[in-house]
């Protein structure tokens, strides 16, 4: 076998492998979309692509379940957590990155230690507290916990980003008479747009799909979020109403997936920044 055919075989094999991997990576999504259009309600189907397409399950979802309410609840919680969480994260990481204040080292190591606790150990404690105080079932509990959790999980990425913005910019602004506030709001925030996009997307996604804490806190059908509602649909009614779940899953996943793909560039930057800064 000469060199050229060897190279060609290698390339062909690579393409074959890529096609196979792509199939695997797309299959679950494709399958669930197809299932949501299938007639009947069972998990089993003879063909991957259904013989008849129907929108019945989507209609059903909106008419006979609490899906619209869940959707609004989730959207409300996710939006509020994103705004509050991003704001707090910005404040914390900016101060830690830019100022050398007494106690800075302690703050950094405290945050590092906090990251090492299993994320929801605090959540279970909060659950015990809320339970004892009869404050369960409130959306605000979720928003507050998500926002403060967002600080702990994202502060190092955000700090790493601020570290890369040259100080000379600030010095220049300060010479021109800018105060700390002006500096922060009119120079640092616009400059940190890529990081802001990344962080807020992460917080939004985190609170949009969080299952653990929402399941703990939300008790009634009307207060539920999508994640909890869908989990109940799968785990309780199981395969009998599978297609209904499929429709619900597609509707939740679609906006988030599109958002992710659309903002891919920022995500890649964010992930890489997190990687090199540690």
């Amino acid at each position: 076998m000469n060199r050229r055919t060897a190279a060609r075989t290698k390339l062909t094999l690579s393409y074959a492998l890529l096609v196979m991997l792509s199939c695997i990576s797309l299959f679950p999504a494709f399958w669930i979309v197809m299932s949501s259009f299938k007639t009947g309600n069972s998990l089993f189907s003879e063909t991957l692509i259904p013989r008849e397409f129907t929108l019945e399950h989507y209609r059903n979802l909106f008419q006979n379940t609490h899906y619209p309410v869940w959707f609004m609840n989730t959207l409300k919680i996710a939006a509020l957590s994103t705004v509050l969480g991003t704001f707090l994260l910005l404040l914390a990481s900016y101060a830690i990155s830019r100022y050398r204040f007494a106690g800075r080292k302690t703050t950094l190591s405290t945050l590092l230690v906090l990251q090492m606790f299993p994320g929801f150990m605090a959540m279970i404690a909060i659950y015990v507290l809320l339970n004892a105080m009869n404050l369960l079932n409130s959306h605000w509990a979720l928003v507050l916990v998500y926002s403060s959790g967002a600080i702990v999980t994202n502060v190092f990425v955000a700090k790493g980003f601020f570290d890369t913005i040259p100080r000379s910019l600030e010095d220049a602004a300060r010479i021109d008479g800018a105060s700390h506030m002006t500096l922060f709001f009119f120079i640092m925030i616009p400059l940190s747009r890529p990081m802001l996009t990344y962080a807020s997307l992460m917080i939004f996604n985190g609170s949009f799909v969080d299952f653990i804490f929402a399941e703990l806190v939300l008790r009634t059908e009307e207060q539920r979020t999508l994640a909890v509602g869908l989990y109940q649909m799968v785990s309780q009614r199981n395969s009998t109403e599978f297609t209904l779940f499929a429709a619900g899953a597609v509707l939740v996943a679609l906006p988030v997936t599109l958002l992710f793909l659309f903002l891919q560039r920022f995500l890649v930057e964010g992930l890489t920044a997190g990687a090199s800064k540690g």
């Binding site: 690579s14 991997l21 792509s22 990576s25 797309l26 679950p28 999504a29 399958w31 669930i32 998990l43 089993f44 991957l48 707090l88 404040l91 914390a92 101060a95 100022y99 204040f101 800075r104 703050t107 405290t110 906090l114 090492m116 299993p118 994320g119 929801f120 150990m121 605090a122 279970i124 404690a125 015990v128 507290l129 004892a132 507050l144 403060s148 959790g149 600080i151 996604n205 799909v209 969080d210 299952f211 653990i212 989990y231 799968v234 785990s235 395969s239 599978f242 779940f245 939740v252 996943a253 988030v256 997936t257 992710f260 793909l261 891919q264 890649v268 890489t272 997190g274 990687a275 090199s276």
Partner: protein, 435 residues
């Protein structure tokens, strides 16, 4: 006597007096008000709260006969007492800190007065605060939220590990007590707890190693595959393979739970269609473990792939050319150049991923719920990790104290591992490998 000595003595006597001596009335009065509130709290409430924290209540709820009716008289609520005691302690610490700062401030202002500098007026102090201590102003809000929503609950749950707060001892019907290290001892000495703990811990570690290794190596290989010279439509392949990362993992896991359903799930249906026997993907202990690892690869490979592609573009081409001249094959190039370079750049992520996998609640809970149930285990199944076991203990069984013990153990494991591995990574040892 110098100003500073007088001011310091006055400040120690009563918070704010030193400032008033400096004629900084605004600041002084504010501090004095804080002092009054603090002393009031200490005098009237502190003792009760601390007593509550120490005893966790002495008066159990009981039924009292009042005429014909029996009435429930509420006793002490141990958990409330614990939380209130904790808050009181926190407030006391805060008060002490402010007191110290007050003395320090009195001293500093006194010293500048001794040097002939007049003390600041109130608005000047405020401006000074904004100018010099801006960091603290900015940090105040996040700090408060982290303190109350993360740190306080964590301290609270650490404390729970040293109580007997577990079903059936649940307030308000029963009183909770401090039990020292009893729960830890039970974990080691009682047979049921020990078997479960050792079994779950072993699986947690095995899972963390395999899950991290497979996604990492898989991700790097896929990245290399895409970035090969000669491959066209790189962007298309990248987008296709990034899809699993973009779909909310909670949804894809629930979808997979159905896909792997052994009776009706498409995986088994297809296997049967080509003449193979279906596998008990989620119901057999061994295959359930295989399933969670496969599902985790599907979820995790895209992340490593993104990172690795980023690193691959930075590896100098001449390294590969030099290797080719020396007669290296594709595998050797991967083994000796690509892997070390990627590993060097992404070591911190690898560590984080390992720790993350140890606590990977979603993959396990949403896919198998920790099942199939293991009859020898205490409230746990074959695929349960320490975290999911913790969750089940607290939520389904109300075994709060044991759940907290597990939480502490997880923390110790993760912390020990992070410190150990961080010191061994090349990015720590040879910071300047790539200058």
């Amino acid at each position: 006597m110098q100003h500073r000595t007088k001011a310091v003595i006055l400040s120690i006597l009563m918070m704010g007096l030193g400032q008033i001596y400096h004629r900084q009335y605004g600041k002084g009065l504010l501090l004095l008000a804080g002092y009054a509130a603090g002393i009031y709290g200490i005098a009237f409430y502190l003792k009760d709260y601390l007593y509550g924290l120490i005893t966790l209540g002495v008066e159990p709820s009981r039924m009292v006969k009042a005429g014909k009716l029996t009435k429930l008289v509420e006793g002490d609520h141990s958990i409330f007492m614990m939380v209130e005691g904790l808050m009181a302690l926190l407030a006391l610490l805060l008060f002490a800190a402010v007191y110290l700062l007050n003395v320090r401030d009195a001293y500093l202002v006194g010293r500048s007065r001794d040097q002939g500098v007049p003390p600041h007026r109130f608005y000047e102090s405020l401006r000074e605060l904004n100018r010099k201590h801006f960091a603290y102003l900015v940090l105040a809000l996040p700090a408060v939220s982290v303190l109350f929503l993360t740190i306080l609950p964590i301290i609270f749950s650490i404390l729970l590990a040293f109580t007997n707060y577990a079903d059936p001892i649940l307030p308000p019907a029963h009183l909770v007590d401090w039990v020292g290290f009893d729960n830890f001892a039970k974990m080691v000495n009682l047979n049921v707890w020990r078997t479960t703990f050792v079994g779950v811990l072993t699986w947690t570690l095995t899972w963390a190693v395999i899950a991290t290794f497979t996604t990492y190596v898989g991700g790097v290989l896929v990245a290399v595959l895409i970035e090969q010279p000669g491959i066209r439509f790189k962007k298309l392949w990248r987008t296709m393979l990034i899809i699993p990362f973009a779909i909310p993992s909670m949804i894809s896991l629930l979808v997979m739970r159905n896909m792997f359903n052994s009776q009706f799930g498409p995986v088994n249906v297809y296997l049967q269609a080509v003449g193979l026997k279906g596998l008990p993907w989620l119901t057999d202990p061994f295959w359930a473990k295989v399933t969670v690892i496969l599902a985790n690869m599907w979820l995790g490979i895209p992340v490593t792939m993104i990172l690795a592609i980023g690193v691959l573009t930075t590896i100098p081409k001449d390294l590969y050319e030099a290797a080719e001249v020396d007669g290296a094959g594709a595998f050797q190039k991967f083994r000796m150049i690509t892997m070390p370079m990627v590993l060097y750049a992404t070591a911190p992520v690898l560590i984080m991923q390992f720790a993350g996998n140890m606590n990977n609640f979603n993959v396990i809970y949403l896919l198998t719920s920790g099942d199939p149930v293991n009859a020898n285990y205490q409230y746990a199944g074959h695929t349960d990790l320490l975290v999911t076991w913790l969750y089940k203990l607290a939520l389904n069984q109300s075994q709060y104290s044991f759940a907290s013990v597990i939480g502490i153990i997880i923390f110790l494991l993760v912390a020990a591992f992070s410190i150990w591995s961080y010191r061994r990574t090349r990015s720590y040892k040879e910071e300047d490998m790539i200058a």
